[in-house]
Protein backbone atom coordinates (compact mmCIF):
# COMPACT_ATOMS: atom_id res chain seq x y z
CA UNK A 1 0.00 0.00 0.00
CA UNK A 2 1.23 3.43 -0.78
CA UNK A 3 1.54 5.19 2.53
CA UNK A 4 5.35 5.31 2.31
CA UNK A 5 5.06 3.09 5.26
CA UNK A 6 5.50 -0.44 6.45
CA UNK A 7 2.79 -1.44 8.85
CA UNK A 8 4.28 -3.82 11.40
CA UNK A 9 2.78 -5.94 14.16
CA UNK A 10 3.80 -3.28 16.63
CA UNK A 11 1.78 -0.67 14.76
CA UNK A 12 -1.27 -2.91 14.77
CA UNK A 13 -0.84 -3.48 18.52
CA UNK A 14 -0.82 0.25 19.14
CA UNK A 15 -4.00 0.62 17.11
CA UNK A 16 -5.53 -2.21 19.12
CA UNK A 17 -4.89 -0.16 22.24
CA UNK A 18 -6.66 2.79 20.61
CA UNK A 19 -9.68 0.61 19.91
CA UNK A 20 -9.54 -0.67 23.47
CA UNK A 21 -9.51 2.73 25.11
CA UNK A 22 -12.08 4.25 22.77
CA UNK A 23 -14.56 1.40 22.97
CA UNK A 24 -14.17 1.02 26.74
CA UNK A 25 -15.28 4.62 27.19
CA UNK A 26 -18.10 4.19 24.71
CA UNK A 27 -19.25 1.02 26.50
CA UNK A 28 -19.31 2.86 29.82
CA UNK A 29 -21.43 5.67 28.36
CA UNK A 30 -23.75 3.15 26.80
CA UNK A 31 -24.09 1.27 30.04
CA UNK A 32 -25.02 4.50 31.85
CA UNK A 33 -27.52 5.39 29.15
CA UNK A 34 -29.27 2.03 29.22
CA UNK A 35 -28.79 1.22 32.88
CA UNK A 36 -27.46 -2.26 32.33
CA UNK A 37 -24.18 -4.04 31.83
CA UNK A 38 -22.31 -3.64 28.57
CA UNK A 39 -19.21 -5.63 27.68
CA UNK A 40 -16.74 -5.46 24.87
CA UNK A 41 -14.38 -7.84 23.17
CA UNK A 42 -10.70 -7.28 22.58
CA UNK A 43 -10.45 -5.16 19.46
CA UNK A 44 -9.57 -6.69 16.16
CA UNK A 45 -7.10 -4.68 14.10
CA UNK A 46 -6.33 -5.75 10.58
CA UNK A 47 -5.27 -4.61 7.18
CA UNK A 48 -8.08 -5.82 4.93
CA UNK A 49 -9.40 -5.42 1.39
CA UNK A 50 -12.65 -3.52 0.89
CA UNK A 51 -14.58 -6.73 0.27
CA UNK A 52 -13.15 -8.21 3.49
CA UNK A 53 -14.21 -5.05 5.29
CA UNK A 54 -17.84 -5.72 4.25
CA UNK A 55 -17.53 -9.26 5.58
CA UNK A 56 -16.38 -7.89 8.95
CA UNK A 57 -19.44 -5.64 9.05
CA UNK A 58 -21.80 -8.59 8.58
CA UNK A 59 -21.65 -9.38 4.85
CA UNK A 60 -22.10 -7.20 1.79
CA UNK A 61 -25.84 -7.70 1.32
CA UNK A 62 -26.83 -7.98 4.97
CA UNK A 63 -29.26 -5.27 6.00
CA UNK A 64 -28.01 -3.29 8.97
CA UNK A 65 -28.48 0.00 10.79
CA UNK A 66 -25.30 1.97 10.30
CA UNK A 67 -24.35 5.18 12.04
CA UNK A 68 -21.60 6.93 10.17
CA UNK A 69 -19.52 9.98 10.87
CA UNK A 70 -16.36 11.53 9.58
CA UNK A 71 -13.47 12.49 11.82
CA UNK A 72 -11.75 15.77 11.18
CA UNK A 73 -8.88 17.67 12.77
CA UNK A 74 -5.32 16.41 13.28
CA UNK A 75 -6.58 12.96 12.48
CA UNK A 76 -9.02 12.23 9.65
CA UNK A 77 -10.98 9.11 8.98
CA UNK A 78 -14.36 7.42 9.03
CA UNK A 79 -16.19 5.83 11.88
CA UNK A 80 -19.12 3.41 11.85
CA UNK A 81 -21.31 1.88 14.48
CA UNK A 82 -23.03 -1.03 12.78
CA UNK A 83 -25.94 -2.92 14.32
CA UNK A 84 -28.16 -5.71 13.14
CA UNK A 85 -31.79 -4.65 12.71
CA UNK A 86 -32.58 -6.83 15.71
CA UNK A 87 -30.25 -5.08 18.13
CA UNK A 88 -31.10 -1.64 16.72
CA UNK A 89 -34.76 -2.42 17.42
CA UNK A 90 -33.89 -3.39 20.99
CA UNK A 91 -31.98 -0.15 21.49
CA UNK A 92 -34.81 1.97 20.15
CA UNK A 93 -37.33 0.16 22.31
CA UNK A 94 -35.22 0.78 25.41
CA UNK A 95 -34.39 4.39 24.60
CA UNK A 96 -37.88 5.47 23.59
CA UNK A 97 -39.85 3.25 25.94
CA UNK A 98 -41.95 2.13 22.97
CA UNK A 99 -41.94 -1.63 23.40
CA UNK A 100 -43.98 -2.17 20.25
CA UNK A 101 -41.46 -0.47 18.01
CA UNK A 102 -40.77 -2.26 14.71
CA UNK A 103 -38.26 -1.35 12.05
CA UNK A 104 -39.48 0.15 8.81
CA UNK A 105 -37.89 2.42 6.26
CA UNK A 106 -35.53 5.02 7.70
CA UNK A 107 -37.80 7.92 6.71
CA UNK A 108 -40.60 6.45 8.79
CA UNK A 109 -38.51 5.73 11.87
CA UNK A 110 -39.28 9.12 13.41
CA UNK A 111 -38.35 9.11 17.06
CA UNK A 112 -36.55 5.80 16.59
CA UNK A 113 -34.14 7.39 14.12
CA UNK A 114 -33.46 10.27 16.51
CA UNK A 115 -32.80 7.79 19.30
CA UNK A 116 -30.32 5.82 17.20
CA UNK A 117 -28.63 8.99 16.02
CA UNK A 118 -28.31 10.15 19.60
CA UNK A 119 -26.87 6.78 20.49
CA UNK A 120 -24.33 7.29 17.70
CA UNK A 121 -23.54 10.74 19.05
CA UNK A 122 -22.89 9.51 22.57
CA UNK A 123 -20.90 6.44 21.54
CA UNK A 124 -18.71 8.16 19.00
CA UNK A 125 -18.26 11.19 21.25
CA UNK A 126 -16.95 9.11 24.13
CA UNK A 127 -14.86 6.89 21.85
CA UNK A 128 -13.21 9.85 20.17
CA UNK A 129 -12.68 12.00 23.25
CA UNK A 130 -10.87 9.06 24.86
CA UNK A 131 -8.81 8.71 21.71
CA UNK A 132 -8.07 12.42 21.70
CA UNK A 133 -6.93 12.37 25.36
CA UNK A 134 -4.74 9.35 24.72
CA UNK A 135 -3.02 10.72 21.62
CA UNK A 136 -3.18 14.48 22.40
CA UNK A 137 -4.51 14.95 18.89
CA UNK A 138 -7.35 17.33 18.10
CA UNK A 139 -10.24 15.27 16.81
CA UNK A 140 -13.59 16.65 15.70
CA UNK A 141 -16.41 14.28 14.83
CA UNK A 142 -19.06 15.40 12.35
CA UNK A 143 -22.71 14.94 13.28
CA UNK A 144 -23.52 11.24 12.88
CA UNK A 145 -25.86 10.17 10.15
CA UNK A 146 -28.04 7.08 10.17
CA UNK A 147 -28.73 4.75 7.29
CA UNK A 148 -30.57 1.43 7.16
CA UNK A 149 -29.47 -0.50 4.09
CA UNK A 150 -27.06 -3.14 2.79
CA UNK A 151 -23.64 -3.28 4.47
CA UNK A 152 -21.82 -2.74 1.17
CA UNK A 153 -23.83 0.36 0.32
CA UNK A 154 -23.30 1.90 3.76
CA UNK A 155 -19.70 1.01 4.46
CA UNK A 156 -18.41 1.78 0.97
CA UNK A 157 -19.28 5.42 1.59
CA UNK A 158 -16.71 5.51 4.38
CA UNK A 159 -14.12 3.98 2.06
CA UNK A 160 -14.32 6.68 -0.62
CA UNK A 161 -11.58 8.82 0.92
CA UNK A 162 -9.37 5.81 1.62
CA UNK A 163 -9.87 4.37 -1.86
CA UNK A 164 -7.96 7.29 -3.35
CA UNK A 165 -4.86 6.04 -1.57
CA UNK A 166 -5.23 2.33 -1.33
CA UNK A 167 -7.17 -0.84 -2.07
CA UNK A 168 -6.74 -1.90 1.52
CA UNK A 169 -7.74 -0.35 4.77
CA UNK A 170 -6.63 -0.59 8.39
CA UNK A 171 -9.73 -1.34 10.37
CA UNK A 172 -9.99 -1.08 14.14
CA UNK A 173 -13.02 -3.13 15.06
CA UNK A 174 -14.57 -3.53 18.50
CA UNK A 175 -17.55 -5.66 19.28
CA UNK A 176 -19.92 -4.38 21.97
CA UNK A 177 -21.89 -6.97 23.91
CA UNK A 178 -24.94 -6.47 26.02
CA UNK A 179 -26.25 -8.66 28.74
CA UNK A 180 -29.67 -9.98 27.88
CA UNK A 181 -32.13 -12.13 29.71
CA UNK A 182 -30.67 -14.87 31.93
CA UNK A 183 -27.29 -13.20 31.70
CA UNK A 184 -26.64 -14.31 28.13
CA UNK A 185 -24.64 -11.74 26.22
CA UNK A 186 -25.48 -10.85 22.67
CA UNK A 187 -23.74 -8.62 20.18
CA UNK A 188 -25.04 -5.08 20.49
CA UNK A 189 -23.03 -3.69 17.62
CA UNK A 190 -19.64 -3.18 16.06
CA UNK A 191 -17.45 -0.12 16.04
CA UNK A 192 -15.27 0.45 13.04
CA UNK A 193 -12.60 3.11 13.03
CA UNK A 194 -11.00 3.61 9.63
CA UNK A 195 -8.24 6.20 9.68
CA UNK A 196 -7.45 7.79 6.31
CA UNK A 197 -4.03 6.56 5.14
CA UNK A 198 -2.36 10.01 5.48
CA UNK A 199 -3.31 9.88 9.18
CA UNK A 200 -1.43 6.65 9.91
CA UNK A 201 1.78 8.62 10.35
CA UNK A 202 0.02 11.15 12.60
CA UNK A 203 -1.33 8.44 14.89
CA UNK A 204 1.92 6.53 15.12
CA UNK A 205 4.06 9.58 15.74
CA UNK A 206 1.67 10.83 18.45
CA UNK A 207 2.13 7.50 20.18
CA UNK A 208 5.85 7.39 19.64
CA UNK A 209 6.01 4.35 17.38
CA UNK A 210 6.81 6.00 14.08
Amino acid sequence: MNTNYDITEMHLDVLKEIGNIGAAHAATSLSQLLGHKIDMRVPNVALVTFDEMFELAGGNEEIVAGIFLRIEGDLTGSMFFVQTIESATQFIRKLTGDTEFEFTAVEELGLGASALQELGNILSGSYLSALSDFTSLKIYPTVPSLCVDMVGAIVSFGLIEISQYSDEVIVIETEILQEGEQGISSVAGHFFLLPDPPSYRTIFSSLGVL
Partner: protein, 164 residues
Protein backbone atom coordinates in the same frame (compact mmCIF):
# COMPACT_ATOMS: atom_id res chain seq x y z
CA UNK B 1 -22.04 -29.29 -19.41
CA UNK B 2 -23.96 -28.27 -16.34
CA UNK B 3 -27.30 -26.67 -16.92
CA UNK B 4 -27.28 -24.74 -13.66
CA UNK B 5 -26.42 -21.10 -14.07
CA UNK B 6 -23.13 -19.92 -12.72
CA UNK B 7 -23.06 -16.48 -11.19
CA UNK B 8 -19.86 -14.53 -11.75
CA UNK B 9 -19.31 -12.22 -8.78
CA UNK B 10 -17.78 -8.80 -9.05
CA UNK B 11 -16.40 -7.18 -5.88
CA UNK B 12 -16.01 -3.50 -5.14
CA UNK B 13 -13.55 -1.75 -7.48
CA UNK B 14 -13.48 -4.96 -9.47
CA UNK B 15 -14.57 -6.14 -12.92
CA UNK B 16 -15.26 -9.33 -14.82
CA UNK B 17 -16.93 -10.89 -17.85
CA UNK B 18 -19.78 -13.40 -18.19
CA UNK B 19 -21.10 -15.40 -21.14
CA UNK B 20 -24.59 -16.93 -21.28
CA UNK B 21 -25.73 -19.08 -19.50
CA UNK B 22 -23.61 -17.44 -16.83
CA UNK B 23 -24.93 -14.34 -15.10
CA UNK B 24 -22.86 -11.58 -13.54
CA UNK B 25 -23.56 -9.90 -10.25
CA UNK B 26 -22.33 -7.25 -7.86
CA UNK B 27 -23.86 -6.46 -4.49
CA UNK B 28 -24.17 -3.56 -2.11
CA UNK B 29 -23.80 -0.68 -4.56
CA UNK B 30 -24.17 2.55 -2.62
CA UNK B 31 -22.51 5.58 -4.12
CA UNK B 32 -20.65 3.21 -6.44
CA UNK B 33 -21.95 2.63 -9.95
CA UNK B 34 -22.33 -0.78 -11.56
CA UNK B 35 -21.65 -0.51 -15.29
CA UNK B 36 -22.74 -3.37 -17.53
CA UNK B 37 -21.38 -3.40 -21.07
CA UNK B 38 -22.99 -6.09 -23.19
CA UNK B 39 -23.35 -7.51 -26.66
CA UNK B 40 -26.85 -8.95 -27.02
CA UNK B 41 -26.04 -11.06 -30.09
CA UNK B 42 -22.87 -12.61 -28.73
CA UNK B 43 -24.59 -12.90 -25.32
CA UNK B 44 -21.55 -11.69 -23.48
CA UNK B 45 -21.38 -9.01 -20.82
CA UNK B 46 -18.79 -7.24 -18.71
CA UNK B 47 -19.43 -5.55 -15.40
CA UNK B 48 -17.37 -2.90 -13.63
CA UNK B 49 -18.04 -1.82 -10.02
CA UNK B 50 -16.88 1.82 -10.22
CA UNK B 51 -16.03 3.53 -6.94
CA UNK B 52 -14.55 6.88 -8.00
CA UNK B 53 -15.22 9.15 -10.99
CA UNK B 54 -11.72 9.86 -12.22
CA UNK B 55 -8.35 8.09 -12.14
CA UNK B 56 -6.77 11.50 -11.47
CA UNK B 57 -8.06 11.02 -7.91
CA UNK B 58 -5.84 7.98 -7.48
CA UNK B 59 -2.85 8.80 -5.34
CA UNK B 60 -1.10 5.47 -5.75
CA UNK B 61 1.60 4.47 -8.19
CA UNK B 62 -0.17 1.27 -9.11
CA UNK B 63 -3.66 1.95 -10.32
CA UNK B 64 -6.52 -0.47 -9.90
CA UNK B 65 -8.22 0.38 -13.21
CA UNK B 66 -11.58 -1.08 -12.16
CA UNK B 67 -11.91 1.50 -9.37
CA UNK B 68 -12.38 4.51 -11.63
CA UNK B 69 -15.04 5.36 -14.22
CA UNK B 70 -12.59 6.40 -16.94
CA UNK B 71 -10.03 3.61 -16.66
CA UNK B 72 -12.63 0.96 -15.75
CA UNK B 73 -14.83 1.51 -18.79
CA UNK B 74 -11.82 1.69 -21.07
CA UNK B 75 -10.40 -1.56 -19.68
CA UNK B 76 -13.77 -3.30 -19.96
CA UNK B 77 -14.13 -2.32 -23.62
CA UNK B 78 -10.67 -3.79 -24.24
CA UNK B 79 -11.62 -6.99 -22.40
CA UNK B 80 -14.76 -7.35 -24.53
CA UNK B 81 -12.80 -6.68 -27.71
CA UNK B 82 -10.38 -9.42 -26.73
CA UNK B 83 -13.44 -11.72 -26.62
CA UNK B 84 -14.26 -10.84 -30.22
CA UNK B 85 -16.94 -8.25 -29.44
CA UNK B 86 -17.09 -5.38 -31.92
CA UNK B 87 -17.01 -1.99 -30.20
CA UNK B 88 -20.07 -0.65 -32.08
CA UNK B 89 -22.24 -3.55 -30.89
CA UNK B 90 -21.64 -2.73 -27.21
CA UNK B 91 -24.55 -1.31 -25.24
CA UNK B 92 -24.70 -0.29 -21.60
CA UNK B 93 -26.95 -0.57 -18.57
CA UNK B 94 -26.01 1.23 -15.39
CA UNK B 95 -27.22 1.28 -11.79
CA UNK B 96 -26.12 2.83 -8.50
CA UNK B 97 -24.76 6.23 -7.61
CA UNK B 98 -27.00 6.74 -4.59
CA UNK B 99 -26.44 9.35 -1.94
CA UNK B 100 -26.43 7.17 1.16
CA UNK B 101 -25.75 9.87 3.73
CA UNK B 102 -26.73 13.49 3.72
CA UNK B 103 -23.38 14.85 4.83
CA UNK B 104 -19.69 14.26 4.41
CA UNK B 105 -16.65 16.20 3.38
CA UNK B 106 -17.33 18.48 0.42
CA UNK B 107 -16.06 16.10 -2.20
CA UNK B 108 -17.40 12.84 -0.88
CA UNK B 109 -20.96 13.97 -0.24
CA UNK B 110 -21.80 14.10 -3.93
CA UNK B 111 -19.71 11.09 -4.89
CA UNK B 112 -22.76 9.16 -6.13
CA UNK B 113 -23.95 11.81 -8.61
CA UNK B 114 -20.35 12.46 -9.63
CA UNK B 115 -19.83 8.79 -10.38
CA UNK B 116 -22.98 8.68 -12.53
CA UNK B 117 -21.91 11.80 -14.41
CA UNK B 118 -18.43 10.43 -15.05
CA UNK B 119 -19.75 7.05 -16.24
CA UNK B 120 -22.18 8.70 -18.66
CA UNK B 121 -19.53 11.03 -19.99
CA UNK B 122 -17.16 8.14 -20.55
CA UNK B 123 -19.80 6.03 -22.32
CA UNK B 124 -20.63 8.98 -24.53
CA UNK B 125 -16.96 9.31 -25.43
CA UNK B 126 -17.02 5.76 -26.79
CA UNK B 127 -20.48 6.31 -28.36
CA UNK B 128 -21.99 3.55 -26.24
CA UNK B 129 -25.74 3.82 -25.86
CA UNK B 130 -27.27 3.47 -22.38
CA UNK B 131 -30.35 1.30 -22.89
CA UNK B 132 -31.47 1.35 -19.25
CA UNK B 133 -30.49 2.90 -15.96
CA UNK B 134 -31.54 2.93 -12.34
CA UNK B 135 -29.42 5.59 -10.71
CA UNK B 136 -29.45 8.15 -7.91
CA UNK B 137 -31.81 8.07 -4.96
CA UNK B 138 -30.69 7.07 -1.49
CA UNK B 139 -30.91 3.27 -1.51
CA UNK B 140 -28.28 0.61 -1.91
CA UNK B 141 -28.63 -1.78 -4.85
CA UNK B 142 -27.62 -5.30 -5.75
CA UNK B 143 -27.57 -5.97 -9.46
CA UNK B 144 -27.41 -9.07 -11.61
CA UNK B 145 -27.20 -9.12 -15.39
CA UNK B 146 -28.25 -12.00 -17.58
CA UNK B 147 -26.38 -11.94 -20.92
CA UNK B 148 -28.96 -14.38 -22.36
CA UNK B 149 -31.85 -11.91 -22.05
CA UNK B 150 -29.90 -8.64 -21.60
CA UNK B 151 -32.04 -7.99 -18.52
CA UNK B 152 -30.57 -6.27 -15.50
CA UNK B 153 -32.17 -7.22 -12.18
CA UNK B 154 -31.93 -4.44 -9.61
CA UNK B 155 -32.74 -5.23 -5.98
CA UNK B 156 -33.14 -2.60 -3.27
CA UNK B 157 -33.96 -3.09 0.39
CA UNK B 158 -37.27 -1.24 0.30
CA UNK B 159 -38.53 -1.70 -3.25
CA UNK B 160 -37.70 -5.35 -3.92
CA UNK B 161 -36.39 -6.46 -7.32
CA UNK B 162 -37.14 -4.81 -10.60
CA UNK B 163 -35.99 -5.57 -14.12
CA UNK B 164 -34.54 -2.98 -16.44
Amino acid sequence: MYTTKTVIRVGIADMNIAKAPQTIRTSGLGSCVGVVLYDSTKKIAGMVHVMLPDSQLGKTAQLNVAKFADTGIHAMIEMLKAQGVRPFSIKAKIAGGAQMFQFGSNDTIRIGPRNIEAVKQELKRYSIQITAEDTGGSSGRTIEFDPETSILHVRTVNAGTREI
